[in-house]
Every structure is written in structure tokens, then in C-alpha cells.
Amino acid sequence: MVHKLIKFLNNTKSKRKKLQSYTSPQRVLLIILAILKWVFLIFLFLFSITPIVWIMISSWKTNHEIFNTAISFPKVWQLQNYVNALNLDGLWSAFRNTIFVAIVSTGLCTIIAAMAAYALRSKLRGNKKIYFFLIIGMYIPVTAFMVPYVVISNFLNIHDTVWALILTYTGISLPISILILKSYMDTIPNEILEAAHIDGCSYHKIFTKIMLPLAVPGIASIGIFQFVAVWNEFLFASILTAKESARTLQVSIRFFMGTFQVDYASMFATMIITMMPAIVVFILLQERVISGLTSGAIKG
């Protein structure tokens, strides 16, 4: 702490010295720029934090207070709102469904993408064409496929079950997963695989014993990417499932809105409860999530 303070003081001293070497109009300009920079940073900060903080504070108020004024703290912190939210029918099954869908589709997606990315390494005729075919879907606005996805899940006889969601999510994110994993696997030198081949490893053994362990960071990237995306998805969940036993969190929120009508306070409490897991996980695993979400995206 002291160390940091000294560093800070030295820093400002050297900055001040640097400032003195400028002429006065230049100095004014530099100060204005510095002020603008901080205004910008703080504006972005407020923009990012305000919705969550406001909803969180409001979730402890009475409805009367909510309607009275937007800028105030609750007089008495209302635990009742959270009790109402936790007693909702279907909240726990929605949590269960969301976790199940997220884990299974993340697993499926990573395994299929890893197999494809591995196979694309071998000298296959039409390799490039297959790769192009596999990743072109990345650039297609999948919301256009709303109707076909409903028809397909009907045809596969999985409509209105969690499996419709699992397969759809897996299919949608395969292109970007394959792209990220392929570009990650390309950094693994071929000599390692050749050495294993000479030692008598089969194609499958090389995959499970060498390729997968080496590609763990890349796999973690797409896994996190997929998990977050599935946890937060709403549109396809709402058109592919309806019954309570298959609802995910986001779809349930829509139904809870109807349950609570004008009980805004309980509604806000529900929102906070449903998004807390994501925020807590993000704060705990921050570095991992950040590198997971970004490392692969850029290499393609």
C-alpha cells in the first residue's frame, strides 16, 4: 500500500515535471484532455453499473416507495420481496433446467468441435472447403431460422423438451467453436503428433492422449463462451419450450412478470436472484472468463 502510494507520488511528480516543459496553451489542452478522459471513463462506469444498482436498491423497497420517487433508499429494507421471489413456483426447476441445458450443450459443443478441429488437421481432400462450410454459419443471422428450428424440433420429436434447446444451442455455436478451436490447435506443432504416430499411437489415441490435453485452454475458452451464451439465451428458449418442466430461467422471468403484475418490488428481487449466479461466477473467475471470451475470438 505504502509502496503504491510512493509510486503514485513519484508518478505525479514526474508528470508535473513533464507538464512544466510544455508551453501554457499546451498545458491547458493537456489538462482539458485529462478531464475529458476521466469524464468518459466515469460515464461508462455509471452506464454499466446504474441499471443493476438501481434495480438492486429498488428490490428492497416497498411498491409504494418505488412509485413515489426513483432516487431514494428504502426506509425499511424489505426482505419480503425476496421471500416472494424464492417462493415462486418453478424458480428452482428453471434453475435446474438452465444448468442442465448449459452443461450438456457446452459438453456436446466442445466435444464435437474438438473432433472436427482435430480432423481438419489431417491431409484430407477438400479440407479447406469443409472448413469453410463448417464456419460460414458464424456470419448468418440465426434469428432468421426461428421457424425452421421449431419445425426441426417437432420433426425430431423433441419439441417442448430441454433436448430441443440443447441440440439447437449446440448447432448454433458449432461454427464459432470450430473456428476458435481450430485456430488454437494450429498453434500446436505437428512434430508432437508425428512423434506419437511413429511411437505407434493410433489416430484415436493421439486425439485423446495428446491433442485434447494440449488443447485444454482452447477448449476452456469455447466452453465458457458457450456456457455464458446458453445461460443468457432467451429467444429460442421461448419458442422451443412452453411447459413449466422445460422452462429455462429467462423464459420463466417472462412468466413471473405475469404472476407479479404490478408487484414491481418482488419482480426486481426475482431479476436480481436470477442474475446473481452469473455475476458472482464472473467476479470469481474473472481472468479465466475474460481470456476465455477473448483469446480465441481474435485468432480467426
Binding site: 471513463l41 481438419l120 448468418i140 458449432l174 417472462r254
Partner: protein, 296 residues
């Protein structure tokens, strides 16, 4: 002899087996839907059973192209994507450049800027809907408090401001792309900046002549990602305005959804077909426009 041939054949077969699940999934979830879109867009299918379906040619296309709502949604979608590419991405770049100079609390800022990206878009849209409420919302309350009463209007309920208010809700959530840009700025060797300092370049010139040119590839990828992400956006207008008032904030995915739940499957798929084609055209023209000599 036969054995070696057989093992060679099996060796050739192995990669294909490994590719099979991926290819199947892509065919089922991208190939078939695309063909399905095109085929049904030429019929009078109503999103129900497939008997009684008749071939109607390009009638559906004529119908949507003469629909005022379609063109409004089309225009709004372009404004939507344009705002993302020409304002949102530069904002992210600016933030990344500022945060890369490591001002105080930069890690803290980076974390907080990421919050809107970790919350579900659907929940976020609900939160913004309440923030924008003219009676209980925070935004108008703040505007009234600081004396801007004339600005405390019903932002989402006025046709001239609705789309702008929707865009505002994601315009400044710079977290994700800022981090992508920062990770790329980190790879730029420091010597370049030192040399520039010796030559007397200021921060602004350094950003313009060193950082931005070297980030070219990252910028292209981020622009492509932005285009596909924003083209897919559905939740924000669905929750906050339902495309209204009237059709003033309608965008293509929402119009498609409305037609789908209105049992107009063929019309919905016609809109879908135009969306897919439009998306591919935009992406490939961006790639063409920025294509570097080495073909990336």
C-alpha cells in the same frame, strides 16, 4: 498386402468419422433451415400442417417488398447495425486505448464495463424498460432533478426517440470488445511508442499512426462480430417497445417473430430469407472492402 490397404483405408476414414458429427449438426441446423426458408417462402404455408400447401411463386416477396412495415424494419436494422459499426466500435477502441495506458483503477473499470455483457440481454432489456419508465423510471427522474424538465419525455413511447433509446441501451456497454482490443494492444512492442516519443509525437498521434494501423485485423474481426451480433438482436425491441409506437422501432428479427406467432409461416420465412442473404452480403462486402494483400 490386403491388410496394409485396409489399414490405409481405415486411416483415411478416421478424419471423416471425426468430422461426421460436426457436419451432421451443421447440415441439420444451418443447411436444412436455409433450404427450408427458401422453399417455404415460395408457398402459402401457414406454419401449421404441410397438406394444402400451394406453390405461389414470388408472391410473398412482392407482398413484403410492398409492405411499408418491411422497409421501416429494413431501415431501422441498417441504422441499428450502422450505429454499432460507426459509433459503438470506435467507442470500444477509444476505451481500449485509454485503459491500455493503465490509468488508476483500470482493472476495476475493465471489470465493471463487462457487467452488461454478462447479464442476459432479456433481463437487461427489462431493467432498461423500467429505467425509461416516464412515471417511476430513474432516467426521467434524474433529468427532472438537474432541471432538464423539457427532456423528461416518454422516450420509448415517442416514435421519433424510441429507436434511439433502444440503441442507447447497448451503445455504451463497451466491455467485450474493449477487452479484445486491449489484448491486441498488449502485443504491440513498446519500442514503437518510445521511438515515436523521441520523435516528438503526442498521445493522439501515437494512437492514430501506431495503434490503429496495427490493430487493423482486430478491427475487421470486431466489426464482423458486431454486425452478426447486432443483426441477431431481438430481445431489446421485443421487451422494450414491441417495435412501437406504431412501427417506428421495428427491426427485421422482431417483424419475423410477429409474423411467425401470427401464423404466417411463409411470410416469416420470406423475411428470414432476405435476412440471411442480407447478412451474407454485408459480411462479404466488409471482408472485400478491408481485405489485405495477404488475403486475410
Amino acid at each position: 498386402m490386403i491388410k496394409t490397404y485396409l489399414s490405409r483405408f481405415i486411416n483415411k476414414l478416421n478424419p471423416i468419422i471425426y468430422l461426421l458429427p460436426a457436419i451432421t449438426m451443421i447440415i441439420v441446423y444451418f443447411g436444412i433451415p436455409f433450404i427450408f426458408l427458401i422453399v417455404t417462402s415460395l408457398t402459402n404455408w401457414t406454419a401449421g400442417r404441410f397438406d394444402n400447401v400451394e406453390f405461389v411463386g414470388i408472391n410473398n416477396y412482392i407482398r413484403i417488398f410492398s409492405d411499408k412495415e418491411y422497409w421501416q424494419a429494413f431501415l431501422n436494422t441498417f441504422i441499428w447495425i450502422g450505429a454499432a459499426v460507426f459509433i459503438h466500435v470506435p467507442l470500444c477502441l477509444l476505451t481500449a486505448i485509454i485503459l491500455s495506458q493503465k490509468p488508476f483503477f483500470w482493472k476495476f473499470f475493465r471489470t465493471v464495463y463487462f457487467f452488461p455483457n454478462i447479464i442476459a440481454l432479456f433481463t437487461l432489456a427489462w431493467m432498461w424498460l423500467f429505467l425509461f419508465r416516464p412515471d417511476i423510471g430513474l432516467i426521467n427522474e434524474i433529468l427532472r432533478t438537474i432541471g432538464l424538465d423539457s427532456l423528461s419525455i416518454n422516450w420509448l413511447g415517442t416514435s421519433s426517440t424510441a429507436l434511439g433509446a433502444l440503441i442507447f441501451t447497448w451503445m455504451f456497454s463497451v466491455g467485450y470488445f474493449t477487452i479484445i482490443f486491449m489484448s491486441q494492444i498488449g502485443t504491440i512492442p513498446n519500442e514503437l511508442y518510445e521511438a515515436a516519443t523521441v520523435d516528438g509525437a503526442n498521445e493522439f498521434k501515437k494512437a492514430l499512426y501506431i495503434t490503429i494501423p496495427l490493430l487493423r485485423d482486430a478491427i475487421i474481426i470486431v466489426v464482423l462480430l458486431t454486425v452478426t451480433f447486432t443483426f441477431r438482436t431481438f430481445e431489446t425491441p421485443f421487451v422494450m417497445t414491441r417495435g412501437g409506437p406504431g412501427i417506428s422501432s421495428m427491426i427485421l428479427p422482431l417483424m419475423l417473430y410477429n409474423r411467425m406467432v401470427g401464423n404466417q409461416g411463409a411470410i416469416a420465412n420470406t423475411i428470414g430469407t432476405t435476412m440471411v442473404i442480407l447478412g451474407i452480403i454485408i459480411v462479404f462486402s466488409i471482408r472485400k472492402l478491408f481485405a489485405s494483400k495477404d488475403g486475410t
